[in-house]
């Protein structure tokens, strides 16, 4: 197994943003980049100011009052997965390893299809504010809320810390600010968006960023194709000549060396995406189930367009256009700033200083938008599931819940900032693997079985969820990312970097076995409520539209 590339692949979800603006600094585009950078901050703060006037109720805070349209929400959902990782990380992976990157490109798209066909409608009809609402519909509220909120928080916190570490390094490179201050700046901005503007601000920051990203990638792909007279075949022939792998760059094996890693990664990315709390929460921001379905369809369209351009044009085009350009390489022949800088160098190569500044600012905007979405999902798990649901048993007033959500936002941000500062010198690549592994192994089985299996009981859901979560975390700790690289042991106990092939079935199996074994009266009552759940989950509120 080829571990370094595997970890590099995992890192693109976490640390890709870290060096986004480095080229700006190194090639003289810093002034332009800073200008765009400040414009992004000004725009997002203006959105927050506008949204603050609406953020007066729990409904506004958690789901923007349901006023987001399907088209707008489609942009926002696509934006959640068209992060700096997509623009910088995937471009870099294609540049380095070629075709294997296709798993990263296609898995969110397949996840979106599963969302449209299996999740969007029942999820929107059964739930109110958070992911947990759906599972708690017919199962016992308290244990389900505690477990599900915990799983959501693990996912959110790991993802947040990974993003903040990358974002801190990004600002550090651009402004020359100390790392800790840079993390604090980003943390402060995301806290402002969420605490003051709620879901309205968070959604519109994401929508604006997604629109800008679509435009940026379109321009970048256009400029690349222009260099090849819009002839993709000629470009691919040139790619095969320029890359160290030759035509191997269009064949599997450049990144994933063994079948277990390939299958495991494919499973974790698709099902992990479906279980991400900040993505699922967006299904509540539209008016009804019909709009929820439509929004994911739009998201799939936007994502297909952007990722298709990056995969087929930008990534492969960079191989040819950066080849032999000594100003993008250091004395040892390595790309300045590493593989995550490919898109930024390419922007400079095809569009000059101004376009480089623009692409750099887009990368920064993507980070701000994604961390804001994560923060509101985490804060909602604390205030709605833990405080209002588990602690107050649904007795908290709206005012109290809203206050709790704002306190949770500040608290979660503080913890994330502190962890990001503590992890500055650590290899955080494992966090990205962990996010998708936990989401796929704990949240996804709970969601799917709660929606589609009559036999699921609270006991099975909680025990199975804990098994999925523990196996995902445990196998990653015992794997090469932590056991060898961080703890310094000679060889890993678990030989693979991705545990999905083992932890996802473990989660499902445990939920099924312990539900079957549950002969309690409560379990029987939960199964009996399943028919009502089906009727409620598929009621079509859009009839007559």
């Amino acid at each position: 197994m080829n571990r370094p590339p595997l970890l590099a692949a995992a890192a693109f979800f976490a640390a890709a943003p870290a060096t986004a603006l480095a080229a700006g600094a190194q090639t003289g585009g810093r002034g332009v980049a800073i200008g765009f950078f400040l414009a992004v901050i000004a725009l997002t703060l203006a959105i927050t100011y506008w949204a603050a006037r609406r953020n007066r109720t729990a409904d506004e805070f958690y789901r923007a009052g349901g006023r987001i349209t399907g088209f707008q929400n489609g942009l926002a959902i696509a934006g959640d997965f068209m992060s700096a990782a997509t623009l910088l990380g995937i471009t870099g992976l294609i540049y380095m390893s070629g075709f294997d990157t296709v798993i990263y490109v296609l898995s969110p798209l397949v996840g979106m299809c599963i969302l449209v066909f299996l999740v969007a409608e029942p999820f929107r009809n059964l739930g109110r504010f958070t992911v947990t609402d759906v599972a708690a519909y017919r199962l016992q509220e308290r244990p389900i809320r505690i477990f599900s909120a915990f799983a959501s928080l693990v996912v959110v916190l790991l993802y947040l810390v990974a993003q903040l570490v990358g974002a801190g390094a990004l600002i550090q490179i651009l402004f020359g600010l100390p790392y800790g201050f840079a993390v604090l700046l980003i943390g402060l901005l995301m806290t402002l968006y969420v605490a003051i503007g709620g879901m309205t601000a968070t959604s519109w920051v994401q929508i604006s960023k997604a629109a800008i990203l679509v435009a940026a990638v379109t321009i970048l792909a256009f400029l690349v194709l222009l260099r090849f007279d819009f002839n993709l075949v000629n470009m691919y022939d040139a790619v095969a000549s320029a890359h160290r792998l030759g035509v191997g760059v269009f064949q599997p094996g450049g990144l994933l060396k063994d079948p277990v890693s390939t299958m495991s990664l494919g499973l974790a990315l698709v099902f992990g995406f479906v279980g991400l709390p900040h993505v699922l929460m967006r299904l509540y921001t539209v008016s009804d189930a019909h709009e929820a379905r439509r929004s994911v369809v739009y998201a799939a369209g936007f994502y297909s367009y952007v990722s298709g351009l990056i995969f087929f044009v930008v990534g492969y085009g960079a191989i040819v256009l950066l080849a032999g350009r000594l100003d993008y390489f250091d004395a040892e022949g390595g790309l300045i700033g590493g593989s995550n800088m490919v898109a930024v160098h390419l922007a400079h190569e095809v569009g000059g200083e101004a376009f480089l500044g623009f692409i750099s600012a887009v990368a920064f905007a993507t980070i701000l938008a994604v961390v804001s979405g994560l923060t509101i999902a985490g804060a909602s798990a604390i205030s709605h599931d833990l405080y209002a649901g588990a602690v107050r048993h649904g007795e908290a007033s709206e005012k109290e819940e809203l206050r709790a959500s704002k306190i949770a936002t500040v608290g979660l941000s503080f913890v994330a900032i502190a962890l990001a500062v503590a992890f500055e010198k650590q290899n955080i690549a494992f966090m990205a693997s962990l996010v998708f592994a936990v989401s796929a192994s704990a949240s996804f089985p709970l969601l799917i079985l709660a929606l589609y299996w009559r036999g699921l009981t609270t006991r099975g859901a909680v025990i199975g969820g804990v098994v999925g979560l523990a196996s995902a975390v445990g196998l990653i700790i015992l794997g090469p990312a932590i056991w060898v690289q961080i703890l310094g042991n000679e060889s890993p106990v678990f030989p693979y970097s991705y545990p999905g092939l083992f932890s996802i079935p473990a989660g499902f199996l445990a939920m099924i076995v312990f539900s079957f074994a549950d002969k309690s009266e409560a379990g029987r009552a939960e199964r009996a409520r399943y028919d009502s759940q089906i009727v409620e989950s598929l009621k079509d509120q859009s009839i007559g539209r």
Binding site: L106, V110, C113, V249, L256, T262, M263, A300, I534
Partner: protein
């Protein structure tokens, strides 16, 4: 009791049958895209030579285009079907 938790109302077969039918259709749509994607992943894992055949315009590149096209088409068909039902 959960504020959203329903009672165990009994529903007739006539009420439930069309809902189950809808779910079967949804699963069929999902199965198509999942099989296509994991077909590619499985082939990358166990038949990399076949996936790489014909590079640079390899089977894998064509498969990728097929999956993206299938995803868009299936989404469009599904939404259309739901709209017609409404």
């Amino acid at each position: 009791m959960n504020e959203t938790q329903p009672g165990a109302e009994r529903h007739s077969k006539e009420t439930l049958a069309p809902l189950y039918a809808r779910r079967v259709v949804s699963f069929c749509f999902a199965a198509i895209i999942v099989i296509l994607f994991y077909g590619l992943v499985f082939a990358m894992a166990f038949a990399p030579d076949w996936i790489g055949a014909g590079a640079p315009m390899s089977v894998g590149v064509a498969f990728t285009v097929l999956i993206i096209a299938a995803a868009i088409l299936l989404n469009w068909l599904y939404i259309r079907r739901m709209r017609d039902r409404a």
